[in-house]
Subunit: 339 residues, 2 copies
Amino acid sequence: MKDSNTIRIPAVQMEAEFIRILLKHGFREDKAKLCASVFTDNSIDGVLSHGVNRLSRFVKYVINGLIDVDAEPELAHSSGAVEQWNGNLGPGPLNAFKCTERAMTLARKSGIGCVALNNTNHWMRGGTYGWKAAKAGFVFIGWTNTIGLMPAWGAMDNKLGNNPLVIAVPYGDEAIVLDMAMSQYSYGKMETKAMENSILDFPGGYNSSNELTCDPSEILSSKRPLPIGFWKGSGLTLLLDILAAILSGGLSTGEISKKKDESGVSQVFIAFDISKLGNFPSIQNTISEIIADYKESVPVDEKSNIRYPGEQILKIRAANLQDGILVNREVWNDILSLE
Amino acid sequence: MKDSNTIRIPAVQMEAEFIRILLKHGFREDKAKLCASVFTDNSIDGVLSHGVNRLSRFVKYVINGLIDVDAEPELAHSSGAVEQWNGNLGPGPLNAFKCTERAMTLARKSGIGCVALNNTNHWMRGGTYGWKAAKAGFVFIGWTNTIGLMPAWGAMDNKLGNNPLVIAVPYGDEAIVLDMAMSQYSYGKMETKAMENSILDFPGGYNSSNELTCDPSEILSSKRPLPIGFWKGSGLTLLLDILAAILSGGLSTGEISKKKDESGVSQVFIAFDISKLGNFPSIQNTISEIIADYKESVPVDEKSNIRYPGEQILKIRAANLQDGILVNREVWNDILSLE
């Protein structure tokens, strides 16, 4: 990846550019800073698709009026440890941050807390909220619905979202963070692979003859990506959409898909305050033992790298913090010229 | 399936036989009845692997002392809407029933309730508890860990459980119930397919040359079944195990796997009382609209049957209730001779 097309940008410099751009687009200073930190942290963690590579599209949504920079999420209904919030079409990462914090507050009181958020925008990288909650000592389960972009099992048309699911637990000073969409590969990954003229390691969807294929161009053309586990992921993503819609009182994938652009999505944030559990003193030890056992797996071959979810992020983060964030040069020039 | 090897047994007759057997093995009458109803209902729903086909193995566990028929689950620790219970190695379905009910009770009070259960036994079919909660008007999320039976992504040996996950929502008088293990195919399914000399529709694991295969015999021999979505299901099942172990204070898959037989598993039961939500009056309408939209998917071909999770169960249930439960003749004769 170290070629003339890429450049290393120090995190502080990137964050400063993001703040500059967001302020120009009407963000209040504290919100510009928090929003910029989410896009910067995602870039530091190597999730460029929801970091530096995404910022210009995020700004376009602001310009087009899909994101209301001044909107604040507000409590719509409370029933004890479950709260329903209205995102008022504010910036997705800010709404999601607030609801993660609120779920943690509810959990501090009741052991568990759930905030269901409707009428919000793309939260960018779900893992952001998992890392945040887990590093604060909470177990986190959260998911979002999305616009339709995957067919139901046995179907041609995209009735299902890929509805990313995040599960996170504290692990020492860091966290174990699973952040997975219900499609086998993201469109972003398939587009990158197609541009490189390379194929997927495993079938990622169907070609026009209804055969499974590893060719990303064929899948991008058929628009039939594969759910994880075939019928299983199809069922799981349907249930995640139903739960997001009914718990938040918000839009389902089907309703979001009627819009031109993805907006007004529904999200769920569940936090557990594990410091309230009877076995709290031994929890970190339990997690360490599970991971130690997992890492003792016999690898298939010397190329096998048996990692827990989030493990690789730590290495990428360290490298990007030390050497600067590895970014496509053209993307970075676009950021610099963004008014 | 209608051949001389199968027989139709009326549900009441099956349940009576199960009660007879369980009473003989020391179950108190109310517990025998409840346990028999779980095994019968699973059979009515066509899940014979956790119904009539499983009872003799369940009884063997009682005889071997792995299941304590008199044990009652007891509250170990309470922190508001989260409770930790000790299953005291009682019958898995009875413990799970009790904890489902308890999660519903907690949800009635706090909007959401979570019971984490340790030291319990196999709950048989997770869907049982999803159907129960959803038909009572609750949203349900639950899972169990299991003994190790699936390798981590990139590994040879079975460090991971298949940790079935259940998500259920009320749907009219019935329910939508997702009940999925994290392996692409169960060992039971692969054994049946192997006996029939037929192959799996999709790769279900690896052969001894580390190639993906649809041949169930090869997978049974390599003992390397495939997680759903390759690395994604591997990560998800690891997180489900971590959460089950730390929330319940119970054993992890790694610890359970040190035993000769699966016993002392950890489970999580989460219920939402949706009658407490601000949008409760419109929830059934929302679910109906999502399902209607889903069912309007354009099928790939005339063989496509675009079903929601649990839909097929309703048809099987109706047929088995009307005509008697379709059972393997040999299995039924074994039940009749079970002392």
